[in-house]
């Protein structure tokens, strides 16, 4: 360092003391005083970088973020070799969740103060967060070397090695650490946890015998206090060693917790059971020893067949129906995959009905009859026999009109039969029977969202959300309710409110960002608490976080909207029209503004307090786009879609819709190699997938209209991939008609062929006819695909829409989704205006 730089940094004793004061004042968050003191120094030494940085840091804490940030940057530039300046810069970047940049700043800081504990600890957390394990090992090494007395530093070092894939070093560090321990108190939970971690390291290395020996020694000496953990690990290791003792170990676990099905599976596997009969014998033996355990009795059903199955199933069903177990059908359902078992259960059901119908010879609990009917309704619904299901439910409701389950079941049946309005009404009836039950409330609200009755849904949600929240939506968003967010987003989308749909999909993304960020504090915390095994579980889970079905759905739906916006920018204009709002719209807008304003108000302090208030370093959550209109009109829809989809290419790579979505975005971004690779992935998953067929045609059209082949290095790979997907010599017309021929009974394949025909400028009549073929006798037309077909005909401006609509309406008599717009509007009205029960039924919590 040059003399000049040293000279600039060093302060005379008076200012030097003041600077120390600034640091202390900052640490104790006396921000006003700290600011004043910093200004005192700067008056005399206006270019003192370190003071400037501290002042900037304090300003950010006081909420003057931009000002503070500028000052910090200035300060860093003035003193590039000061660890304080880089540390401050890193702190602020960390607060903004800009972890990559923060780590760079911290690494700079460490260059000038290699053994600064604070900086090292923060760097370790950042490296863990960013999964930079090489660096983490180094940092943890330094920390352990500098403060070997702190036990957590050694554990953290071992974990760092483990994460970096160096299990042998991880083990060595643990052994060294254990040797150094003195006076470990009895029943010490921390020591127990580290010992269990040591066992895991040995297991991960593959030394099962050593792991088991180590486990046993420490369990006998009462070092490990996690009894369940010991038993589970024992059984698992013994099974891995294929030891004779494994059987007993699993049996001990079953006795400890007879309701854990994993233990039974372990037990059966450990005995090398090769036949269903042998398994059945084992399960029967356990059942006789633990008669109250449900698991072995249920497992037995999966291993039995024929008369034996009938006997066991009848006993299992009867006892559950007499008890009145609502989840019985859900429990049994998986057995229906086997036709023989399905028929057995059907006949048992009929038998039971005969035995338990009131006014029959054997006197019985009236409730058993009720639960049999409830089961039977679900049985018929599962087999898509919706009218039979509804008939059974009506009988049950006549018998016992006050059981909410009957109405939730009715709602589900109507939903599956295509009547969302009837379904919503049924759920409202269920909800009214127990106003204190949030479960029924949530379902009722969800069904109203499905029926497009958004405001009604919000009203229901509002009965249980916090009264001081800005709105029911705001509370559910704050509490990260993914169920609510995805249902609301999808409902808005169905209603064409693309701005609000996009907004909610974006909120879902934000929730996942929050959850990803949650792990940050635990990188340090878990080391201090020594709970290593669960910490490792945390990291793996976070790595796979966005494989969650709600994230996948949100990403796919949002990217579809973004693509549509790119293809037709005029969509945005519809939402920002200058047409006068209706009075209802004005009211809704006012309400939304008020809610957004209230939310902002709640975030501000109640009264202007002294500026000592510490706002922290995190960026406040200001929502500047409550209606999602900015998002809708964004200038980079494709880039946003790509970002949203990106994690799915690794975390949901078996989901063919992901690759279709990736193609749609990539091809429009002119990322040709990425696009064709996506289709290649899709093809591997299902070469006949209808959406893939449509994209292949799209690809051919795009390629033929390209002014030139993409340049090297991608040109060759691109061309060969294209040819592999769709051979050059095959015309699109042939390709399409061959596809149609091959899949003439699949409505979605027909739909795909029709769309391709349209892009080939086929006459409207021919496209129509293709769609209409889905009504033919050989086509397995489902309700869902029928709706898709109808929507497409409307979009096309076909002259035969009415014809298709009435045809579907007749084909699906219980459905209301094929009624005319007027009929549906009146059904919605009927649902909203359901006779209000007396006020006492509405219990507001």
């Amino acid at each position: 360092m040059s003399k000049l730089q040293l000279a600039k940094r060093a302060l005379p004793s008076k200012e030097g003391t003041l600077f120390k004061d600034v640091l202390t004042l900052y640490e104790t968050r006396q921000l006003k005083k700290g600011l004043k003191t910093a200004d005192q120094i700067l008056k005399k030494f206006p270019e003192h970088g370190e003071t400037m940085c501290m002042k900037g840091l304090i300003l950010v804490h006081m909420g003057r973020r931009e000002e503070g940030m500028d000052l910090v940057k200035k300060g860093v530039r003035l003193d590039l070799t000061s660890h304080i300046c880089w540390h401050v810069f890193g702190l602020i970047q960390k607060g903004e969740k800009n972890y990559e940049e923060a780590l760079k700043s911290y690494m700079q800081a460490l260059r000038f103060d290699k053994e600064n504990m604070n900086i090292l600890r923060d760097a370790a957390s950042l490296q863990s967060q960013l999964r930079l394990y090489d660096g983490l090992v180094e940092t943890r090494h330094t920390l352990a070397r500098c403060r070997p007395v702190l036990r957590a530093n050694w554990i953290a070092l071992s974990v760092a090695y483990h994460l970096n894939g160096n299990l042998e070093e991880a083990k060595k560090v643990l052994e060294h650490y254990e040797d150094s321990l003195k006076n470990v108190p009895d029943y010490d939970v921390e020591h127990s946890e580290t010992t269990m971690y040591h066992v895991k390291v040995l297991e991960d290395i593959g030394d099962y015998a050593e792991a088991l020996a180590f486990l046993d020694v420490n369990s006998k000496s009462r070092v490990i206090v996690d009894k369940t953990g010991v038993m589970e690990t024992r059984a698992r290791l013994l099974s891995k060693l294929k030891s004779d003792e494994a059987e007993h170990a699993w049996r001990v676990l079953i006795d400890h917790n007879p309701d854990c099905t994993d233990y039974y599976n372990g037990y059966l596997t450990s005995q090398n059971i090769s036949s269903d009969d042998a398994a059945l014998l084992v399960l029967k033996e356990i059942s006789s020893q633990i008669p109250r355990a449900n698991a072995p009795r249920r497992l037995a059903l999966a291993y039995s067949s024929g008369d034996q199955f009938r006997e066991l199933a009848k006993e299992y069903l009867t006892s559950a129906l007499v008890k009145g177990v609502p989840s019985l059908f859900a429990d049994i359902k998986s057995l229906y995959e086997n036709q023989a078992r399905l028929e057995s259960i059907q006949s048992i059901l009929e038998q039971l009905l005969a035995e338990h119908t009131p006014a029959s010879s054997s006197p019985t609990e009236p409730t058993t009859y009720l639960w049999i009917l409830y089961f039977q309704a679900q049985h018929f619904s599962h087999l898509s026999q919706y009218d039979k299901a509804l008939e059974v439910l009506e009988r049950a409701i006549t018998h016992t009109p006050t059981l909410p389950e009957l109405y939730t079941c009715k709602g589900r049946v109507l939903k599956r039969a295509g009547d969302p309005y009837g379904a919503a009404r049924a759920l409202e009836e269920a909800r009214r029977l127990d106003g204190q039950d949030r479960f029924l409330n949530t379902k009722c609200a969800k069904y109203h969202l499905r029926a497009g009755l958004i405001n009604e849904a919000y009203h229901f949600f509002g009965l249980f959300t916090k009264k001081d929240a800005a709105s029911p939506s705001a509370d559910l968003e704050d509490m990260q309710s993914l169920l609510y967010l995805i249902e609301d987003a999808d409902a808005q989308r169905r209603l064409g409110k693309l701005n609000l749909a996009l907004k909610k999909y974006a909120v879902i993304n934000k929730v996942f960002d929050e959850i990803e960020d949650d792990q940050y504090d635990f990188h340090g915390y878990s080391m201090r608490k020594f709970t290593v095994n669960i910490y490792l579980n945390l990291l793996t889970w976070e790595d796979n976080l966005r494989s969650h079905p709600v994230y996948v759905k949100a990403a796919l739906s949002a990217s579809q909207i973004f693509v549509a916006l790119h293809d037709d920018p005029s969509i945005v204009k519809r939402f920002t029209s200058s047409e006068p709002l209706t009075s209802a719209e004005k009211k809704a807008q006012k309400k939304a503004k008020k809610a957004a304003h209230k939310k902002e108000e709640d975030k501000k302090p109640a009264a202007p307090t002294s500026t000592n208030e510490d706002k922290g370093l995190e960026i406040p959550n200001a929502d500047d786009d409550p209606d999602g209109l900015k998002l809708l009109g964004c200038s980079d829809p494709l880039e946003r879609a790509a970002k949203f989809l990106h994690p799915l290419t690794t975390l949901a790579s078996k989901n063919i819709d992901v690759w279709i979505a990736v193609y749609d975005v990539a091809i429009r971004r002119k990322k040709y190699l990425q696009a064709v690779r996506a289709l290649a992935h899709a093809r591997e998953l299902d070469a006949d997938y209808p959406e893939l067929h449509v994209r292949l045609a799209h690809l051919r059209k795009t390629v033929t209209s390209l002014p030139q082949v993409p340049p090297a290095p991608i040109g060759e790979v691109f061309t060969s991939t294209v040819s592999a997907l769709l051979p050059d010599e095959v015309t699109l017309e042939t390709f399409n008609s061959q596809y149609l021929q091959r899949h003439s009974s699949s409505p979605l394949a027909i739909f795909a062929a029709a769309r391709v025909l349209k892009t080939l400028d086929g006459p409207l009549e021919e496209v129509d006819n293709t769609i209409f073929s889905t009504l033919g006798p050989d086509v397995k037309l489902t309700l869902k695909s029928a709706r898709t077909m109808l929507d497409y005909l409307v979009q096309l401006g076909s002259l035969r829409v009415e014809e298709y609509r009435t045809s579907c309406d007749q084909r699906f008599p219980l459905a209301t989704v094929f009624k005319t717009a007027e009929e549906q509007a009146s059904l919605m009205k009927e649902t909203v205006e359901m006779p209000i029960a007396s006020p006492k039924d509405e219990v507001e919590i």
């Binding site: 996690d226 309701d259 993914l482 949650d518 915390y525 709970t531």
Partner: protein, 155 residues
């Protein structure tokens, strides 16, 4: 239906179950904090598809005054309405209690319940053997009082 120790992978399911059933809700970090501090105390019940249908979120009480014995605390317990009559709540509670006693030498378990929640009161008092220790005024966010209940684990 499977009852086992809760893992981090279960936290989303626990949160979803909680939001469906109860008005007292928590952000994900709070669930993570429980599991990462007391990894053996929380349990879940899952259906055959791996969906969380019931859970118990538990901890050991921290910041104990000098000399007071360690005790466990149930932060939240809930089972989906559609999975009643299977004794799930009791099974979850029993597993958690045993872990509190074995691992942390807990002397008793405590929890809070709304004064007006007759169903829960019945579960804790009659099925699980809790007794009312105290009334905590305005314990809940909406101002309702809570019963503070205890269950002794000393055997």
């Amino acid at each position: 239906m499977n009852i086992r120790v809760a893992r981090i992978d279960d936290t989303m399911g626990m949160q979803a179950c909680n939001l469906q059933n109860l008005p007292e809700n928590y952000t994900m970090k709070y669930y993570l904090y429980h599991l990462l501090t007391w990894p053996t105390l929380s349990y879940v019940a899952e259906d055959s598809n791996g969906r969380v249908v019931g859970y118990i979120l538990a901890k050991m009480e921290e910041d104990l005054p000098e000399g007071e014995k360690p005790h466990g605390h149930v932060t939240s317990i809930s089972v989906l309405r559609s999975y009643r009559r299977l004794g799930i709540a009791k099974k979850l509670m029993v597993q958690s209690q045993e872990a509190m006693a074995a691992m942390y030498k807990a002397d008793y378990v405590s929890l809070h319940v709304r004064k007006s929640n007759r169903a829960a009161l019945g579960l804790y008092r009659d099925t699980l053997g809790f007794t009312v220790k105290d009334i905590e005024k305005k314990y809940y966010a909406d101002g309702e009082d809570a019963y503070a209940m205890h269950l002794s684990l000393a055997s």
